[in-house]
C-alpha cells in the first residue's frame, strides 16, 4: 500500500485508468498513511474518510461501466480548511468557526467532486490564512516533514506537509501573499498561484479579496498542471473570475521548451537578506536554464521595496471588513459577556474577543485604522498607488523578459518560535512572493535543491497575467534538468519519507 502513496498524481491516474488499482484502494492507502504519520506532522485538521471512500467507490463503479472520466478521476486530494465543504466542518484554523458545518460547497469543491476526486480531509493553516508558519492556527502548528522542529511554511503549511509526507498526492491551497508558494519552498514541493481570477474564489473564506487566489499543491510540476486544468476556468458566482478558457498546462509541463526564452532575474528579490544556501541553489538552477537554451537577463523593479508596506495596509484593510461577519449572531462560536447586559453589541465583542487569535486581532486593528476617516488617503490610498507602481514595474520587466525568477523565500524553514514574537521578521519571509499578489500575476515555486542546512530551497517563476502556461513550460524544463542531476525527485533522493534507496 505504501507504494501507492509514492506515486505521482499522473502515475496514479494512469494506474487507475489501466485498472491496475481502484480508487478505493488508492484512497484507503492515503487514509492509512494519514493514520500512520499525521500524529507526527498534524497536516490535517480532520479527515473525511467515509465520504472519501464513498466517492472513490462511485468513481470505481463509473469506470467499470466504461464512463468517460476526468483525467484525475479517482485520485484523492486534500483541501485547505479555509475552503468550504458541504457537510464537513470548516474552520479556517480559527476557534470562532469551531463546529461550523457549511451548507454549501465552494465552486472548487464542486469541481473536485465532479472530477471524481475523493476529498481526504481538511488541512491546517494559520488562522484565516494569516501567517507564514501555521503557528497561528488555533488548533496547533503543522510540523515540517523534513525536520519536525521546523515550520512547514504558511499559511498553507498543512497542504504542503500533507503532500510532502505522502498523505495526499495533491492538495489545494490559497495564496494571498505567498501562502501556496512559501510552504512549497520550505517543504520541497510545487505550489502554483494562478493569475488572479484564474480559479474561482466562491467558497474560499476571504482573507483579502483583491489578493486571494486558490491554486494547486503537488509533488511535481506536471501534477500541478493537471490539477490546474481541473480547477481553473470561469465561474459566474465569482465576479472577479476570468473569462479565459483553461490553457493546456499539462502538455506545457511535459513538453515545454525554453530555448530562446528570456528569463529575468529580479535584482530586488535576492542579494542581501537572502541566506547563502538559498542564493547558491538559485544560481545553480539558473545555470541549468541557461544550459537548456534560455537567455538570462537582469531586470529591476524598484517599487518592490514598498511592496511589503503596501501589502500590510491593503491586506489588513480588506481583512478587517471580510472578518466582520464573524460575530456570533448566525453561525460559529457565540460567547455571552460574563456580566452585564446581553446586548447584540456585547455578544459580538465577547465572541470576537474569545474567538480570534492575536495575529487576527492585530491585523483587524491595523486594517480598521487604515480605513478610518482622516487616515484613508495616507494609508489605504497610498498603498493602492504603490500597487499601481508595482504593476508598472512588472509591465516593464515583462517587456524585457518572458518570465521572471527569484528565490521563493529568503531562507529555508525556520524553527518554531523563532519569529512568532517578531511580526516584522515573520512578514519579511514573504517579501519575494507578495509582489505577484499585488499585481495579480501568476507564480510558481518548485524545489531547486537543498541548502547547506539540509533543507529544501524554493525557486520562484513569475509570468504575466493570463500567461500561467509559461510557468509550466519553464518549471517543467527546470524540474527535468534538476531531477536528472539529482537522480530522482528531491523528496525521494533526500529520504524525507524513509525510503532513500
Amino acid at each position: 500500500m505504501t507504494e501507492l502513496t509514492r506515486l505521482t498524481a499522473a502515475a496514479l491516474a494512469a494506474a487507475l485508468r489501466a485498472g491496475e488499482v481502484s480508487s478505493v484502494e488508492a484512497t484507503r492507502a492515503h487514509l492509512d498513511r494519514m493514520a500512520e504519520v499525521d500524529g507526527a506532522y498534524h497536516a490535517f485538521l480532520r479527515d473525511n474518510a467515509a465520504d472519501a471512500l464513498a466517492a472513490a467507490a462511485v468513481v470505481d463503479a463509473a469506470r467499470m461501466r466504461g464512463e468517460d472520466l476526468s483525467p484525475l478521476a479517482g485520485v484523492p486530494i486534500a483541501v485547505k480548511d479555509n475552503i468550504v465543504t458541504r457537510g464537513l466542518e470548516t474552520t479556517a484554523g480559527s476557534r470562532i468557526l469551531a463546529g461550523w458545518i457549511p451548507p454549501y460547497d465552494a465552486t472548487l469543491v464542486t469541481k473536485l467532486r465532479a472530477a471524481g476526486m475523493p476529498i481526504l480531509g481538511k488541512t491546517n493553516l494559520d488562522e484565516f490564512a494569516m501567517g507564514s508558519s501555521t503557528e497561528h492556527s488555533a488548533y496547533g502548528p503543522t510540523r515540517n516533514p523534513w525536520d519536525v522542529t521546523r515550520i512547514p511554511g504558511g499559511s498553507g503549511g498543512g497542504s504542503a506537509a500533507a503532500v510532502a509526507s505522502l498523505q495526499a498526492p495533491l492538495a489545494v491551497g490559497s495564496d494571498t501573499g505567498g501562502s501556496i508558494r512559501q510552504p512549497a519552498a520550505v517543504t520541497g514541493t510545487v505550489g502554483v498561484k494562478p493569475t488572479y481570477g484564474g480559479v474561482s474564489r466562491y467558497g474560499l473564506i476571504a482573507l483579502a479579496s483583491s489578493l486571494d487566489q486558490i491554486g494547486p499543491v503537488a509533488r511535481n510540476v506536471e501534477d500541478a498542471a493537471i490539477l490546474h486544468e481541473v480547477i481553473g476556468g470561469h465561474d459566474p458566482r465569482d465576479s472577479t473570475s476570468l473569462p479565459d478558457a483553461v490553457a493546456p498546462f499539462a502538455d506545457a509541463a511535459r513538453h515545454g521548451d525554453v530555448r530562446g526564452m528570456r528569463v529575468g532575474v529580479v535584482l530586488e528579490l535576492g542579494g542581501e537578506g537572502y541566506q547563502d544556501g538559498v542564493r547558491a541553489s538559485f544560481e545553480a538552477a539558473l545555470d541549468l536554464l541557461r544550459d537548456a537554451g534560455a537567455e538570462v537577463v537582469e531586470v529591476s523593479c524598484p517599487s518592490f521595496d514598498f511592496a511589503l508596506a503596501a501589502y500590510y495596509l491593503i491586506l489588513p484593510a480588506e481583512a478587517s471588513s471580510n472578518l466582520a461577519r464573524f460575530d456570533g449572531m448566525r453561525y460559529g462560536l457565540r460567547v455571552e459577556p460574563k456580566d452585564g447586559p446581553v446586548t447584540a453589541e456585547r455578544v459580538m465583542a465577547a465572541t470576537r474577543g474569545a474567538g480570534f487569535g492575536d495575529e487576527v486581532k492585530r491585523r483587524i486593528i491595523l486594517g480598521t485604522h487604515a480605513l478610518s476617516a482622516g487616515y484613508y488617503d495616507a494609508y489605504y490610498g497610498s498603498a493602492q498607488k504603490v500597487r499601481t507602481l508595482i504593476q508598472r514595474d512588472f509591465t516593464a520587466a515583462f517587456a524585457a523578459a518572458d518570465v521572471l525568477v527569484s528565490p521563493t523565500a529568503p531562507t529555508t524553514a525556520f524553527r518554531f518560535g523563532e519569529k512568532i514574537d517578531d511580526p516584522l521578521a515573520m512578514y519579511l519571509n514573504d517579501v519575494a512572493t507578495i509582489p505577484a499578489n499585488l499585481a495579480g500575476i501568476p507564480g510558481m515555486s518548485l524545489p531547486s535543491g537543498v541548502s547547506g542546512d539540509g533543507l529544501p530551497v524554493g525557486f520562484q517563476i513569475l509570468a504575466p497575467a493570463h500567461e500561467d502556461i509559461r510557468l509550466y513550460r519553464v518549471g517543467g524544463v527546470l524540474e527535468r534538468a534538476l531531477e536528472a542531476r539529482w537522480g530522482g525527485p528531491l523528496l525521494d533522493v533526500h529520504g524525507v519519507n524513509g525510503a532513500a534507496e
Binding site: I83, V84, T90, A92, L97, W100, P102, P103, Y104, A106, R201, Y202, G203, L204, I205, A206, A208, S209, S210, P236, R237, D238, S239, T240, A317, E318, S320, S321, A324, R325, F326, D327, M329, R330, Y331, A344, E345, M348, T368, L371, S372, A373, Y376, Y380
Partner: protein, 499 residues
C-alpha cells in the same frame, strides 16, 4: 415630555426652511441585488435566502443586471448624468440585520448624478428639485424586537432577525439642499416624493407601495434666519413612510427647530424618530464625527461600465413620464386646469386613467374616484389607492350605470358591497339583488297596486293634477326597494291612468 413648538405660520414667517430628501425605493426585481435568492415580499422568515444573502463565509456577490438597468432608467427619468464607470463600496458597521456587517452600497461613484425633477404644486406652480445622485445598494434584514412595549429595541427581551429582505436591491435618490420653498416646504416634500413614486410605477421598476416600505424617505430639515444665510444645522427624520407623514414631519421639524432657536438653544445634528400617531418626532442617535463607516471600494465586484449604446436604448425606451402624461390626458379628456389639478392633488390621476383605459368615460371615472371613494378614503384616513377597490371594479361599476342596469343610487350601494369585500360589482348586484327592475310586467303589477291603494290620488291625477303623480312614483319605488327606474315608473303610471 412633550416638545415645545412654535406655531407653524409664525415659524415660517421668521425662518427660512431648507430641505434635503433621501428616498429609498426597493426595486421589484425577481432576485436580489447580488444574489439569486428571490426578492419577494411576505414569505415565511428566512426562507428567501442563500449563502450570499446570509453572508456565509466564502460567499461572493454578483451584480443583478436588471437592478442596474432599473437604476439607470430611474437616473434617466430624473434627468441625471449616467456615470461612465462606477463602483460599489463597502459601508462597514456592525448590526445584526446586516449579515456581513457591511452593506454593499455606492459611495463616491454613484451610477447617476446631477439631475433634477420638476414637480407641480397644488396651485399649479412648477418647482424644480435638484438631484445630487442616485445610487444602488442592498437592503438590510428586518429586526423584530420582542417583549418591549413599543416594539423598539429598548425594553425588549430578545430580537428576531428575518434576512428575507437582506440584499433586496434599493436605489437611493438624494436631493441637493432644497431652498426657496418657504412656507410651502412641507408641500414640496410631499409632492416630490409623490412624483417620484409615480415615476417608479410608470417605469415599472417598483410597485412603490409606501405602506409596505417599498418607498422610504429620510427627511432632512434645517432652518436659517433668511434666504441666503448659511445653512443651519439639520435634523434627519428617518423612515417616514407615507406622503401625509412626510408633509407633517417637515412641518413639525420647522416648528420644533424654531422653538429651539428662539429659546436660545442650538439645533443638534441628530437622527430623529417619526411618530405617526402623534405627528411628532423624537430624538434618535446623535450624529458625530465618530460615526465612521470606513468606506472602501468593494473588492469582490468589478467596476460597472455601462455601455453608452445600451444607455441610449434605455433612454429611448423610457415610457411617457407622469408630467407629460398629465398634459396629454388633460388635452384628450378636455378638462380644465382646475379639474385636472383637483384629480392630481387627490392622488387620483393614475386611478382615473386606469379606469378610463378600461372603458369608463373620463367624467364617470372622475365622479366615482373624486366623489364617493374620496369620501370613504378621507373618512378612513387612508390614501385613495389603498382602498380595497380596483380600477377594474370601478370601471365595471361605471359600465353598469352606463348601460342602465344600475342607477347612481344603486351603484353607491353596490360600491359599499365592493368595499366590504363582497366581490366585483356584478357579484354584489347578484348577491344583493340590486338590479334595476326593468321588467315592465313586474313594474306594472307594482303600478297597479299603487293605483289601487290610492284611488283618491289616481282620481286627482285623472282630474288634471299631474304633479300628484310623484307620490305614486314614490310608492312604487318604495315597493321595489329603489330598484326601478323612476322615469319608467312615471311613464307607466301615466299610461295606466290614460293621461
Amino acid at each position: 415630555m412633550s416638545t415645545h413648538i412654535v406655531d407653524y405660520d409664525e415659524a415660517v414667517d421668521r425662518w427660512d426652511p431648507v430641505l434635503g430628501l433621501e428616498v429609498h425605493v426597493e426595486l421589484g426585481t425577481r432576485t436580489k441585488m447580488f444574489d439569486g435568492a428571490p426578492a419577494s415580499f411576505g414569505a415565511e422568515p428566512n426562507t428567501q435566502t442563500t449563502p450570499v444573502s446570509l453572508g456565509l463565509p466564502g460567499a461572493l456577490p454578483v451584480v443583478n443586471r436588471t437592478a442596474v438597468e432599473s437604476a439607470i432608467r430611474i437616473g434617466l427619468a430624473l434627468n441625471c448624468e449616467i456615470a461612465e464607470s462606477c463602483r460599489f463600496a463597502r459601508k462597514n458597521y456592525f448590526y445584526p440585520d446586516v449579515p456581513k456587517n457591511f452593506q454593499i452600497s455606492q459611495y463616491d461613484e454613484p451610477i447617476a448624478h446631477d439631475g433634477h425633477l420638476d414637480i407641480e404644486l397644488a396651485d399649479g406652480t412648477v418647482f424644480r428639485v435638484e438631484i445630487e445622485r442616485a445610487h444602488m445598494e442592498e437592503d438590510a434584514g428586518k429586526n423584530t424586537h420582542v417583549g418591549g412595549e413599543t416594539g423598539r429595541i429598548h425594553g425588549a427581551d430578545h430580537s428576531l432577525v428575518d434576512y428575507n429582505r437582506a440584499g433586496v436591491p434599493l436605489v437611493e435618490i438624494v436631493t441637493r439642499p432644497i431652498t426657496g420653498a418657504g412656507e410651502r416646504a412641507p408641500e414640496v416634500a410631499r409632492v416630490y416624493v409623490q412624483t417620484l413614486r409615480d415615476i417608479f410605477r410608470t417605469l415599472g421598476v417598483s410597485e412603490a407601495r409606501m405602506e409596505r416600505g417599498n418607498v422610504r424617505a429620510d427627511v432632512n430639515v434645517s432652518i436659517r434666519p433668511e434666504p441666503g444665510a448659511p445653512l443651519g444645522t439639520r435634523s434627519e427624520t428617518k423612515n417616514v413612510n407615507s406622503l401625509r407623514s412626510i408633509e407633517q414631519a417637515v412641518r413639525f421639524e420647522i416648528s420644533r427647530q424654531a422653538a429651539v432657536l428662539e429659546s436660545g438653544g442650538t439645533v443638534i445634528q441628530e437622527t430623529r424618530h417619526w411618530h405617526e400617531d402623534s405627528g411628532t418626532t423624537s430624538q434618535g442617535r446623535v450624529k458625530s464625527d465618530a460615526e465612521d463607516y470606513r468606506y472602501f471600494p468593494e473588492p469582490d465586484l468589478m467596476p460597472i461600465v455601462p455601455d453608452r449604446a445600451w444607455i441610449e436604448v434605455l433612454r429611448a425606451g423610457l415610457p411617457e413620464l407622469p408630467a407629460v402624461r398629465r398634459r396629454r390626458l388633460q388635452r384628450e379628456w378636455g378638462w380644465s386646469d382646475v379639474e385636472m389639478r383637483d384629480v392630481a392633488n387627490a392622488g387620483a390621476l393614475s386611478l382615473v386613467h386606469g379606469t378610463v383605459e378600461l372603458g369608463a368615460a373620463p367624467a364617470a371615472a372622475r365622479k366615482w374616484w373624486m366623489g364617493e371613494l374620496s369620501r370613504v378614503a378621507n373618512a378612513g384616513g387612508v390614501e385613495l389607492e389603498d382602498l380595497p377597490v380596483s380600477v377594474a371594479q370601478v370601471a365595471q361599476l361605471a359600465a353598469l350605470v352606463e348601460s342602465g342596469d344600475l342607477t347612481d343610487n344603486l351603484a353607491r350601494q353596490v360600491l359599499d358591497g365592493v368595499l366590504a369585500g363582497e366581490g366585483d360589482p356584478q357579484q354584489v348586484v347578484e348577491a344583493r339583488g340590486l338590479k334595476v327592475v326593468s321588467d315592465d310586467t313586474a313594474l306594472l303589477r307594482a303600478v297597479d297596486e299603487a293605483i289601487a291603494a290610492n284611488p283618491d290620488v289616481a282620481a286627482k291625477i285623472r282630474g288634471g293634477r299631474v304633479q300628484a303623480i310623484g307620490s305614486l312614483v314614490g310608492g312604487v319605488m318604495k315597493a321595489t326597494r329603489g330598484q326601478a327606474d323612476a322615469a319608467r315608473v312615471r311613464e307607466l303610471i301615466s299610461q295606466r291612468l290614460g293621461i
